[in-house]
Amino acid sequence: MKKVWLFILIIVCFWPFASRAAVLKSTYPRLANYFLKWEISDAEAKELAKWDLLILDMEMQENSRAQILKIRALNPKVIILAYLTGQEILDDVNNYNKAYLRQELNQGISDGWWLKDATGKKVSNWPYTSMLNLSNGAIPDQNGQRFNDYLPEFIVNKIKASGLWDGVFYDNTWGDISWINAKSLDLNNDGVPDSRAEADRLWAEGYKRMLANTRTLAGQDFIIIGNGKVYDGYQSVLNGMMLESFPSSWENGGTWASSMQTYLKLPTLNVAPQTPVINVYDKNQLNYRHVRYGLASALLGDGFYSYDYDVMDHGQTWWYDEYNSNLGVAQSRPFNILAGANEQIKPGLWRRDFKNGVAFVNSTDRKQTHIFYKEEFEKIKGSQDQTVNNGQRINYISLAPQDGLIVLKRSTLIKDAAFTNGYFFRVYNLAGAQLRNGFFSYLGAFPGEAEVVMTTGGQNGGSESNISAASGEVGLYKNGKKVIAFNPYGRAYKKPLSLAAKLDSGYLDKIIVGAGRGGGPPVLVFSSAGKLEGNFFAYDKNLRGGVNVAVADVDGDGNAEIITGPGSGTEPRIKIFSLSGRLKNSFLAYDAKFNGGVNVAVGDVDNNGWAEIITAPASSGGPQIRIFNSQGKALGSFFAYDKSYHGGVRVSASDINDDGRMEILVGLKNFY
């Protein structure tokens, strides 16, 4: 028994340091931050947690361990790579504060591992650094090790073992070396300058050995990314390459097409999970065109995108409107609109489709205009470049040379929530910010003004269930066919109904019905097959303003509650009932004197795991939306339409933009 407890204790203690298998998120954009400071603050950690892939200097392991853990706590899915230069080290590294790992790395370097020229002088490619000889020509130390053996061991024993990292980012993974000092490099330490070809061959062989050793020692789950001119010979070991300063001048002539060819072919060469990165830098943080051009180019492939200041200063947390766009999964390969949807990489007007949007790149030297005769998109509603990201709906684009554009697909279907057929809906978040353009939610299969619920259960191969309630009748549809119809209040009752559906993973579970305007306040609970399972009076039996219903778990107890708002003629009291009709709580949504009735909806609009209650005046009163928790505490309030509009509004809650969070939908019958 003691052994078992010991085992558990070991597991618990070392769990945070256990090797983790990084999983790439399936949705786009994938964002990387190349952040090479040696130490970060809590505030920076909080900011950095917004990215999907972080390349942080390895010194943060010692200097900012708590901050890395904070990043992981804030973003459990983040991939964090340790940055180091594999081919060089600072000359006076011991004089640097907080260069603990570099100093430790340096301590283990044997004299025979430095890269020297034929005169025996150390070679330097970057100020204040000396290069290391990664080739097998390096002189082994007393243990018979070369640097290409030592560095992978250091990575595994010092970096990976910390448990903080998902992988390593080797800067300068060049496939050749002769360009540095072509005449006098002496990789094989024979005192004779190597020929260019020999130097390059030795370098590539040695570097590949170093990478292979890293892979062998660190395992398949450990991500290894390189940076620099892409050398095909390394790619079978790597997960990806960074194309720094995209379009990188060293990639086949430095054109957009040459960098894109490389970027798009990398996933076919790399091991999974493939993590190519496009890095664009620009000293002008506000060069939005440059940001877009790089991001849209990155979106043509499956890689990550990073935008920062300069090759000498990668350490910004610049965030752009496009980063907030939730494009979803990719749905097409990139294609050139100007070349008849050809995929051959050359300058053009490129497009790639995603579930929720489209990325366009104009990589030509001319402005390109394209008209969509049968499509429409919506621009991002941003706060930065208002000339581009103004939230407008568009059916054509006009892109400047070397510019990109992210547009969103329109969604005009409210799913898994009741809505009024034919009404015009605006989309809001909890703070009352309008997130997307409004739309008419109308399904021709149902009568105008019917209350409709479209379930998403059928999307995964199940049977689609839709419910409608109008003129006193509730209809249940499967795959477009009405299969059940019943009159909750009898055949003589032809008035409107209020409808709510309790769903289980998108499938219909219970149908809740309230009488609409002109009806009494009984609430009826039906099974998904239309069988009456319960009923109760939510308000005084004599009221004839109807009762509005919604259903969801609003108090986090794991059980759904029925929320009611009264029709006109009484105080605006919201009531929360169990499904069996037991009153759990009630509160006033508006001033007690307001008696125009209250429409209700429920949805998890603050992402806390359970639903909030959303209210709207059903008639008279301004279009003031209020959001409450189950205790009646107001969480938000805003006017959804012009304050002078007193015609009453409807509310619903649905994840209209597919961002995993419910939006508040406010419906208007006539907007004049």
Binding site: R393, G422, G444, K669
Partner: protein, 348 residues
């Protein structure tokens, strides 16, 4: 008085009656004659005894044929509730004496409507006292007319007919004569309020259309057209129709609160049918999206978006037809206060 009478009688006693009793007899006889004559006059006045050869004809009232004739007529039996009903009163005094102060009261017979106000431009023949009309004097044999404007309050918005009456009263020959006459029923015509508008941006500021504004030749611009029908009263068989001009196509967006929408590709006709419109309900609205792709030849022109608009419907109560034209809609977007005037097609 007594002193005077006493002094007078004493004077006569001393001067005449003491001298001769015949003076006293003569005075008493004269007094008796005076009393008898006075009594006769009073008796005749009150008792109207018939004497042979003498006929007395006092004023009489034939209730089936009263001396005053009052006839009421309406300029129209149809009344828009905010307008006045024009009522003409023809009067004639068939009697031999003048009739004064004839009061006429106009009232409704149910609670759906009330008379709210009376007006008359003719001040000579009548006075208006609140909701009462007073014909001040009609000489014997005289006749005339008075024209009144009568305004009503509608208490029940669904009520369509005003049932009302005139109650008149006057005193003739010492008798109070009253008469109540039902006036012709006034019908509130069922008015159909019809609206057609085109928007790129909704009145609340939401972008509905899509594409360039002003429209660019060869580039599609989408607009939303709305039709709306409202009435305080029920209608049936309401039909809206219009034609899409060449170059304008029906697009995918639609919002139909009631009725049935159809489009004939061959005739390019859009048709909206509402079998039954319930008065007072605001649920009769259709919205549909159209797409315009102007040609290069249309550069500089404002283009029609919907032409030949017509509507037709029947008053559910009276069956009366209500029909009319819908204003043509163009790229100038007259009703769109965000974009009005941006109708001329520009070069690409």
């Amino acid at each position: 008085m007594f002193k005077f009478i006493h002094r007078y009688l004493r004077g006569r006693w001393e001067r005449y009656y003491l001298k001769s009793h015949w003076h006293l007899v003569l005075d008493l006889s004269l007094l008796l004659v005076i009393v008898i004559l006075a009594g006769t006059v009073v008796g005749l006045y009150f008792y109207h005894p018939n004497f042979s050869g003498i006929q007395y004809t006092p004023p009489t009232v034939d209730l089936n044929n009263p001396p005053l004739e009052l006839n009421y007529s309406l300029a129209s039996s149809s009344l828009r509730i905010k307008e006045a009903a024009v009522l003409k009163i023809d009067f004639k005094n068939n009697g031999t004496v003048a009739i004064d102060n004839i009061n006429i009261n106009l009232t409704t017979t149910d609670t759906n409507f009330t008379v709210s106000r009376l007006e008359s431009s003719d001040q000579s023949a009548l006075k208006i006292n609140g909701r009462e009309i007073v014909l001040t004097r009609i000489e014997a044999g005289a006749s005339g007319e008075a024209v009144l404007k009568i305004y009503f309050n509608q208490k029940n918005l669904q009520a369509r007919s005003i049932n009302w009456q005139a109650q008149s009263q006057y005193i003739f020959a010492g008798q109070l004569l009253k008469a109540t006459i039902n006036l012709p029923v006034l019908i509130i015509p069922a008015e159909l309020e019809v609206k057609g508008a085109v928007y790129y941006t909704s009145p609340q500021g939401d972008q509905l259309g899509i594409g360039p504004l002003p429209p660019i030749a060869t580039v599609p611009t989408n607009y939303w057209i709305f039709w709306e029908a409202n009435s305080a009263y029920d209608f049936k068989n309401l039909v809206f129709s219009a034609r899409l001009p060449k170059g304008v196509e029906l697009y995918g967006g639609r919002s139909l609160l009631s009725g049935e929408f159809n489009y004939s590709t061959s005739s390019r006709q859009v048709i909206w049918k509402i079998p039954s419109l319930k008065g007072g309900d605001s649920s009769y609205r259709l919205g549909f999206e159209i797409q315009l792709i102007p040609t290069l030849e249309q550069v500089g022109k404002v283009l029609p978006l919907l032409t030949g608009g017509r509507y037709y419907g029947r008053d559910a109560l009276t069956g009366a037809e209500s029909s009319g034209s819908l204003q043509p809609l163009s790229t100038n977007l007259e009703g769109d206060h965000f974009n009005a005037g941006q109708g001329e097609v520009v070069k690409p």
